[in-house]
Symmetry: C3
Subunit: 169 residues, 3 copies
Amino acid sequence: MYPGYDMTPPDPRQTRELRLEIEEFHADYCWTLDCGDVERWPDYFADDAVYRITARENADAGLPVGLVYADSKAMIRDRAFAIKHTQMYAPRSMQHFVTNVRVLEAKGAGIKAQSNYLLLQTLVDGPTTIHQAGRYYDSFVRAGRRLLLKERQCVYDTVLIANDLVLPV
Amino acid sequence: MYPGYDMTPPDPRQTRELRLEIEEFHADYCWTLDCGDVERWPDYFADDAVYRITARENADAGLPVGLVYADSKAMIRDRAFAIKHTQMYAPRSMQHFVTNVRVLEAKGAGIKAQSNYLLLQTLVDGPTTIHQAGRYYDSFVRAGRRLLLKERQCVYDTVLIANDLVLPV
Amino acid sequence: MYPGYDMTPPDPRQTRELRLEIEEFHADYCWTLDCGDVERWPDYFADDAVYRITARENADAGLPVGLVYADSKAMIRDRAFAIKHTQMYAPRSMQHFVTNVRVLEAKGAGIKAQSNYLLLQTLVDGPTTIHQAGRYYDSFVRAGRRLLLKERQCVYDTVLIANDLVLPV
């Protein structure tokens, strides 16, 4: 349970179209990251968006700390720039698998959902390993015909993640 | 192929709404387990439900044995109680990923489906590992607007699972 | 990005029914492989189908080489026969998880999509491991009410795959 996302969800049949739309959002978002197009990553966020990656134990304890924290699209853009232009790291392939999408709220402007993500990593000449597994807790807003993230809380179970390099999830 | 689930499935386009409904069932069911709310786990079953977790080699050989076996909601409730109140085990996070849902039968009261599940486990201070991978063979009944499990056969490929602690799947 | 699959995709809401149909195709296709029914595997392809499994680095470099290559249903059938009747290998269970389906093109006869696949392998008396993770780049044609693959490019991230035994993906 994540604070702000612990409501009783509506009947899934009433929110099915929204669930499918969110799945399609995830597929596009993850593809952008998986093909290394990190400069396009901020495009999925609203201007005042909050983005955080944090461990489940921190989330459970209500701690605000996180591996990554940004509270505006501008900060998200800064982070994307840093990854693209200043960080040095060994080439690797990343692949996201998103399943188990649940719509938690869908009244008017308020759209909330949770989803499971599995992030696989393959280093050159290495096996494919589980880099991070966790849950997205998302709040969306509508911008024209698109959904944008107003908040994405990535809460990972994986404690021992390589935190020398922190890529977006 | 699992006995009783080896029929020729109907055209998937005819059963799409049911497939989506089963996906939503899985998402709720798995979330209940993943957030450790095992006392709510029996709520997903009909009174006379059968629940079993068994290895693929046992299933293929037609053996009735299994890691877990319950043939009523009361037995399932007993098991939930035991996990909650009597077993001792190190804290861990579990996460289910369910994909590849196939509706196998959808005539009147008879609803059967199969799905792939991947269960990840993270021990405190450990990496995230594959705890169990397998298939659900499910029979559902309708109870008002909800689906309930009349039978769930969890058939896992993973031979070397830690069987000292058997959590529901 | 895979050559021929790098177009701007249509609005996902316009192609949702097709996306769901492709998910259903994947579920059937993968089940055929996962239950070892390799002789039925060619049934998912059109007569002039191209099938290839190749590493991402080869795909990125535009190299035509691959772990497996077939440019007709007849060649695919030959391969299925070889696996069934001539190759010797230790018994194992395979399980596919397919997620993140994106429709890339849907105009008239032209149907293109990409999807993520995770292929798990379990050897007898071994743990379940990640055998291969990658992406399907698919072109479909309609044959009556069914979809058939006109092209399937399986591009895997996993560099260190066991290439002594190459099963279909």
